[in-house]
């Protein structure tokens, strides 16, 4: 199945048969050692029942997977992860888009605004988590003081929704800068003439945004949606660990956090490995979707 591009590209042929393999060898070696080997280990471990020290182990085929998938805590974790990822992606993108549009309108000191907006991206997830944790700490947090004086009984330690809001805020805040950068670039690519023409025709700002700018930003938005979802799914361990530790109850235990908790705190290696294999399947599926559909359907530029 060759598509048009490959047919048109001339094949490059190396005169030496060994050289090309040598050239890709380092990359292959790294992939083998850092991906295939651990992934194979995870797959093998996921079919074992083992005590933490590895003194006794039993090969159980897919029993760990059956157990994990029948565990109400795991199903809850899937729900938590979906809610958390979508909320984080949407909040991070909406706020970034708003800021980008606003920053575009600034005439003086545009560069300064942009730089300041991009800064938070340099903050490590765990640090971002700690910052928000302090701001919203029920006893010493300044923002929780404001919330309480507004009559809101703020308590992320016991109220699951509050904990989730806190987590989404911290995770989204961290991602806003990244999205901001892409939206600013996207906005600059929108032809000024179109906007001016619309303005002359009497279209107001909101109208201009929704009918011209927003559709033209679609490729950027779609790309960011994928990136943000993947970020929320797999890159937020540090934030969850620092802010809620999965609590209260299990209301903020994401899939990745559960792998850590079951494997590294509770030392149930088989279950944990089975969960990480499931995550691996999810990642592979997401990547496949991205390459198959997203890359083809969205036209850039």
């Amino acid at each position: 199945m060759l598509d048009e591009e490959t047919k048109l590209t001339p094949r490059v042929v190396f005169p030496n048969k060994v050289l090309p393999y040598l050239l890709v060898a380092p990359q292959l070696a790294i992939t083998l050692v850092f991906f295939y080997w651990p992934a194979g280990q995870a797959l093998y471990q996921s079919m074992l029942r083992q005590d933490p020290f590895g003194l006794k182990s039993k090969f159980v085929w897919f029993a760990n997977f059956r157990k994990v998938l029948a565990d109400p805590a795991y199903l809850n974790s899937i729900k938590v992860t979906v809610a958390f990822s979508l909320a984080t992606a949407i909040v991070a993108m909406a706020v970034a888009l708003l800021l980008a549009v606003m920053a575009e309108k600034v005439v003086r000191g545009k560069a300064l605004y942009r730089t300041l907006m991009i800064w938070p991206y340099a903050v490590a997830p765990a640090i971002a988590g700690m910052l928000w944790l302090f701001l919203f700490n029920p006893s010493i947090g300044s923002l929780s003081y404001v919330l309480r004086s507004l009559g809101i009984a703020w308590d992320p330690l016991l109220n699951g929704s509050h904990a989730m809001i806190l987590l989404v805020s911290a995770a989204a805040w961290k991602q806003i800068s990244y999205n901001f950068l892409f939206f600013v670039a996207g906005l600059q690519a929108v032809p000024k003439t179109l906007i001016e023409a619309a303005a002359i025709d009497g279209a107001r700002e909101t109208k201009r945004f929704w009918t011209i700018i927003f559709p033209l930003l679609a490729p950027t938005t779609f790309f960011l949606l994928v990136v943000n979802t993947v970020y929320a799914l797999f890159d937020t361990f540090g934030i969850v660990h620092a802010v809620t530790g999965g609590g209260p109850g299990k209301t903020t235990e994401t899939l990745v956090y559960k792998v850590y908790n079951d494997g590294f705190v509770n030392l149930i290696l088989g279950d944990s490995a089975a969960q990480s294999v499931i995550l691996m399947v999810i990642v592979i599926a997401l990547t496949a979707i991205q390459f198959r559909y997203v890359e083809r359907k969205v036209h850039y530029g």
Binding site: R49, G54, L158, G247, P248, V265, N266
Partner: protein
């Protein structure tokens, strides 16, 4: 893809750690989890031991938090690179015990080196916890603590409570907490760290009631939790009721509640005796009382169980290494070393001689309250209910308990429901862990 990097990371760490030097002396590696002032104690003790003789050299290595240290030790063992000595926190005791062929009982290490282990010289409550039911000591108690009651004297004064008379029973705590809240002396009456350790495990021991079958798991085998007995339900219902209007304030699963107490938000506080340092540092006008007991319990107070950590010795080492470990443990048991450890770190002394020496030195007169945890632990000979608790998967069972407590305190469950769920979920998890 961070997940798949874990195994590789562990492997890399191990290669770094496996460097052994070509000294004539036998090196003894000691992986620990001590930070701050407690880490200084580790370094000083190691240095002094190394200077005291020329055959062995103790090499302490900091491996992170308690769970991280335990995980590092387990990963190293699996890779055949275990350290000689591993510091394991109380909760990990069951995990270590279940790995019988991975460890060498401390009693054997000592007798193998021609030493005898005089059990009577050690504080019974502590040694009992780290021993097999037949009395064989498995690990060496290094740092032990016990939960006690702290109170803010300024808040007590404002609320019209007796500043020199802290509440002794839980009912008295509830009454005092209500008074603090009602009088406006503080926004909250009572808070506590570690609900699982203080309000379940120590609550059971202190009131001499069973926490689980099989001597709270010490005798091994099929263990079933007993924490939904009426005395626990009443206790937790009282807590849940007080939580409704904020008279009791929940801080978190571990020691987060300390902030609440230090911020002056709550008047009464239960926490490990090891947490004293921060309270002293805050400059608060504080008082110390013994852990409250349930006035309905017969014979209460009994004795509390130790928290903290102990030192485990891995199997498969050379005789020279075991002799070195034995020499180090003998050194650790010396009165002056124990005295130093106790007074500097705030943990309990392990030997009776060190306790007597500290008493004689007038340390307790100058530092009132520092003796309370020792008196609590040694006041009475431990019973089947008060030697401690042990499960192969205590961290997981505590997690389950915490989850149910959080639901209860959020008003989603009654104490009866929360404890019933904690028992059924906990029992299932224990069964699963034993079925490995």
């Amino acid at each position: 893809m961070k997940l798949f990097g874990f195994a590789a990371g562990v492997a890399a760490t191990l290669t770094l750690l496996s460097t052994t030097s070509a000294f004539a002396v036998t090196q003894i590696s000691w992986w620990h989890a001590m930070t701050g002032a407690n880490a200084e104690v580790v370094d000083k003790i190691s240095k002094d031991f190394n200077a005291s003789q020329s055959d062995y050299q103790i090499v302490p290595v900091f491996k992170g938090t308690y769970p991280e240290t335990l995980n590092a030790g387990i990963a190293a063992f699996r890779a055949g690179q275990a350290p000689d000595i591993l510091q394991v926190f109380d909760v990990g005791t069951g995990v270590m015990m279940a790995a019988e062929s991975a460890i060498k009982p401390v009693a054997e290490v000592l007798t193998g080196a021609g030493m005898t282990f005089e059990k009577s010289q050690y504080l019974p409550g502590i040694v009992g916890y780290y021993s097999k039911p037949d009395g064989t000591m498995l690990s060496f108690p290094y740092n032990s603590s016990s939960p006690i009651l702290y109170y803010n004297k300024d808040i007590f004064q404002k609320a019209g409570l007796d500043v020199n008379n802290p509440p002794k029973t839980w009912n008295e705590v509830w009454e005092a907490a209500k008074k603090i809240k009602a009088s406006g002396a503080a926004p909250c009456g009572y808070t506590s760290t570690w609900l699982t350790w203080i309000h379940l495990e120590n609550f059971a021991a202190w009131n001499n009631v069973s926490w689980a079958t099989q001597q709270n798991g010490l005798a091994g085998g099929d263990v079933e939790l007993k924490i939904n007995a009426p005395i626990f339900v009443n206790h937790f219902q009282a807590l849940a009721d007080l939580a409704k209007d904020g008279t009791f304030k929940y801080g978190g699963r571990t020691s987060e509640a300390k902030q609440i107490f230090l911020a002056g938000e709550c008047g009464i506080f239960t926490e490990s005796s090891g947490g004293l340092g921060d309270i002293v540092k805050s400059g608060m006008n504080y008082g110390i009382g013994q852990l409250p007991y349930d006035s309905d319990a017969k014979g209460a107070p009994q004795n509390t169980t130790p928290g903290g950590a102990s030192l485990w010795v891995f199997s498969g080492k050379s005789d020279a290494e075991y002799k070195g470990v034995a020499a180090f443990f003998a050194y650790l048991s010396k009165t002056e070393v124990q005295e130093y450890l106790h007074q500097k770190s705030g943990y309990l002394p392990v030997t009776l001689a060190a306790y007597e020496a500290t008493k004689k030195s007038g340390f307790y007169d100058k530092n009132p309250g520092r003796e309370t945890p020792i008196l609590q632990m040694t006041g009475k000979a431990p019973t089947e209910n008060s030697k401690g608790v042990r499960l192969p998967n205590l961290p997981q069972v505590r997690d389950i308990q915490n989850e149910e407590f959080e639901k209860m305190l959020a008003g989603q469950e009654t104490a009866q429901q929360a404890l019933d769920n904690a028992v059924s979920r906990g029992n299932a998890a224990i069964k699963d862990a034993l079925g490995n």
